[in-house]
Symmetry: C2
Subunit: 216 residues, 2 copies
Amino acid sequence: MNIAIVLYDRFTALDAIGPYEVLSRIPGARATFLAGQAGPVCTDNGMLTILAERELAELPEPDVVVVPGGPGEVAARAGGEVLAWLREADRTSTWTTSVCTGSLILAAAGLLDGKRATSHWLAMEELARLGATPVDERVVFDGKLVTAAGVSAGIDMGLALAGEIAGEDVAKAIQLGIEYDPQPPFDAGSPAKAPAEIVALLRGASRFSERDELIV
Amino acid sequence: MNIAIVLYDRFTALDAIGPYEVLSRIPGARATFLAGQAGPVCTDNGMLTILAERELAELPEPDVVVVPGGPGEVAARAGGEVLAWLREADRTSTWTTSVCTGSLILAAAGLLDGKRATSHWLAMEELARLGATPVDERVVFDGKLVTAAGVSAGIDMGLALAGEIAGEDVAKAIQLGIEYDPQPPFDAGSPAKAPAEIVALLRGASRFSERDELIV
């Protein structure tokens, strides 16, 4: 099973590494990091560089596609090779997936039209604007299109997907292997749970804040 | 605040990326990936390469040290530059931390002698053998030494540490930013919760299994 993880400049590392850490543990899985060009790709904060092992064109028919989010999604969905490759790859994939604002890229490629999907909580209006039907759930399946909420939700998506691909026992073995028994020290991981002033702070600082006003 | 994330051949990606994704979001933080030599470092499964921006000697006095685990820890703690660098860095660090079997490296460097610490659930006996006092908790603080359980526990550790470093509001803002509201689809993330046959499967396949027999 070939898993294609699509990188682009200024992606968010955990969006990609969460699903990678889970899905690469499925027996027989081969995860490959791809980008428009093979070579170094820098994350959103400029502090981490991951190597894209191959360029997109070298892996045209992966079984599973994973698209991370991050501020670089704006450029990625403005056009170019990622969108074109995604449209082609989705024709033959078994699963086409995203984490966080990666769903905006899938939507821009036309792959989420009318489909139930999720994204980072700050990007839900943008997701609707791009033609998807936003669903406020952590992991959303609509046929073979699977989308996860912000950043860390890719781990939950990876496990749900592992269960579909290889069965619950394999998924549970992977969960135990990565000791995924989360115990966050605070309960502020969603806008419904975080203090209102912190939600407002992030909303105001977001690159979606201006757009939200334009939309509303 | 300088955060040094120590890489070595065959580390586990999420061990490093979980704390990185949290700690790099603290205002003023600068995360740097380091290794014995600057350049590409391959993860445990050979499917991912991360660039070490600098060699260890170039960052002798970081404020925060993060040591990931992974099968490569065996070679890393067998001797060499990582252990020597850790001993020096710990003299001036504010926090010296590990995720998963990274605690075995800290212990081999002599930094956990008699200290309360944790590790991957499969490595707890080995941790004791190396002089630490194993504690079955997800994140363990003993003074400035902070250790996390297996792989995914580095996210919880990162948030706890962010709270200590920058205050709870900053930690909660980071948690909301990465939408860390975990909802695992299965409840198998610890040996106490996973089905017994899956626990036995992993225990039998573990590189610690033979050693466990030798110890017991």
